[in-house]
Subunit: 353 residues, 2 copies
């Protein structure tokens, strides 16, 4: 591309236990090698590392994981131009606002650090298609082509065509129920919100000014009194804690009339549950997705992963079986959303001792 | 009891992988703490440790496990009067023949070392009831009262009453199919062969002489050239290898007309599969049998055991889930008999690397 390079903004501050026991509070999903080579953070950074298209990234991460994040980015050969270390999680709106304030003239590509993109060429084509509307002042979402009635994602409806592979976003629908998801899949023209956005920093700051002025003001205060050392920026903790917590979707995307969407059949998954990881595959002829020192004779449609012990899954169906040296999870693939319940039971058992 | 004490003969030479990964070739089931305090071998030895009733035991074990067997018996405070170390497995007939040859005047109580007896008082009452017929020249089996149509056990039919809680054994039926087992359970008068036998050594030797003379002759040769050191006896390896391999049931019990049976509601299980261990319990209100650092929220009718890692079994049913630091097994309780198939698959996978 001859156009000015894009600044990736990699959101690496997430935490959660939806992939326990592989992810833990002290080792969130983006820092784990879940799929293919390297951790999801490293894969994300490499996806936007072509210097003809991209500047080095701005990475927003949790201060608690600073060492691991820096080490992984260094090891991947993708050191950040700026590492913003959040003292606590405040949602993606605050994280993106900090990055936009730090690079107010840049064209920003916001990327979750814990998703997977199977077709990198399709991803690059979608980013290229998003450039014109983004430079023209749109907030552009990449919309993953849906292949199932997924109830765990946000859906975006295509509206008027904007030309060259982009459409206005007509409406958002967050985590629909099963009948609604099936209706959207059947209707067509709906895409999954992949959480990947391209916009000018100025467009985003103007949208925040209009739609979430308190949030923007809080972010500006946190940046004004930030401490900077080398490429690492630490927002002022007290000012940061005062920023309203919100997602970028909720604070801006679902409420702005300037949102566009670029469909992308890019093999995207948020890998947001063991069921999603099973769905992403690759599966063998019995529908099993196997990783590590595992065998699954007579088993069907299972996810069986090990980071340590030998796992034998014999004659079972529709299960996620995940083992590390410290813990083992066995759960039906259609009940993986109940993981929090199980970890609560575990905690209760331990504290009851 | 004022009668002469009984000599327990504990058969500890078994091996097998039916309880993999807890039992392994180098750590057979009787050397594992499967249920309650101590290993099954230790529990067996303690069960017959009352000096008013029993002499110290004769223990027949595999030479490969000699150190572990000696250590466990010592730790349990039940050192053997004689430890016979077999150079290789030749079946229970050879093991019992060796013990009988070593103690030709004794009243022998043959005990598997890897079963469990839940009601020790009922066990002692049954042994007491077996004494008279045994001293009168019967080969007396303890018959466990069946509570289900178990296809994995041998069944013994009660014949004519011999008085004082003993009956002649009318017939044996080894591992019946399901309809046959259900018919026997419905018919009544059938008992499970618990593998526990009381007889005079001379009775057994005479039965072997009549029914399995080659086996007895082989056992005598192996004992004639045995090496003895302290309480440890090692049969001559070449002579031992020439003994025909057979079970005591097959070689003698099923073929002798001098067999008696004493019913015993003694809470017996051979713990011969994960399904048997689940059936033995104790189960919680959801039918789960849990051991170790495990939780099973929303799960029903499962066996969940860990010797190491934390195990979370969430929303699953009718599974055995067994974890050690080295391996994890997940299998439906009604398919545990397919374990060999799984271990073959594992072996193939490893050798294919």
């Amino acid at each position: 591309m001859s156009a000015a390079p894009i600044t990736p903004v990699i959101l690496a501050g997430g935490s959660g236990i939806r992939l326990w026991p592989l992810s833990r509070v002290d080792r969130p999903k983006q820092l784990v090698a879940l799929h293919g080579g390297g951790t999801l953070l490293q894969q994300t950074a490499k996806r936007v590392s072509d210097p003809d298209c991209f500047t080095p990234p701005v990475v927003v991460a949790s201060a608690a994981q600073a060492a691991a994040v820096e080490e992984q980015l260094e090891a991947a050969g993708t050191p950040p131009r700026l590492l913003i270390l959040e003292p606590e999680p405040r949602g993606t709106a605050a994280a993106v606002a900090l990055a936009a304030i730090a690079s107010p003239e840049a064209l920003l590509l916001v990327l979750p650090s814990d998703h997977v993109v199977g077709d990198e060429a399709a991803f690059r084509r979608a980013v290229a298609a998003a450039r014109d509307p983004a430079e023209a002042g749109k907030l552009v979402c990449l919309g993953a082509e849906p292949d199932r009635a997924e109830t765990g994602y946000g859906w975006i409806r295509r509206g008027e065509p904007l030309g060259d592979g982009a459409w206005a976003a007509a409406s958002f629908r967050e985590k629909p129920d099963r009948p609604a998801a099936e209706a959207m899949l059947a209707e067509g023209g709906w895409l999954w919100n992949a959480g990947i956005f391209l916009f000018r920093a100025g467009t985003l700051l103007a949208a925040l000014e209009a739609l979430a002025p308190d949030l923007l003001a809080g972010a500006r205060r946190a940046m004004e009194s930030a401490s900077i050392e080398g490429e690492t920026l630490r927002p002022d903790a007290a000012a940061f804690a005062a920023i309203p917590a919100a997602s970028l979707d909720r604070a801006v995307m679902e409420r702005s009339s300037d949102v566009a969407v670029v469909p992308a059949a890019m093999g995207w998954s948020d890998l947001g549950s063991w069921a999603a990881i099973h769905a992403f595959g690759p599966a063998d002829s019995a529908g099993n997705v196997l990783a590590g020192d595992v065998v699954a004779p007579g088993s069907r449609n299972c996810l069986v992963r090990s980071e340590g012990p030998t796992v034998v899954a014999l004659g079972v169906e529709n299960l996620a079986i995940v083992a590390t040296d410290r813990a083992v999870l066995v759960v039906p693939l259609d009940q993986t959303q109940r993981l929090q319940e199980a970890l609560d039971a575990l905690e209760a058992r331990r504290s009851g001792k």
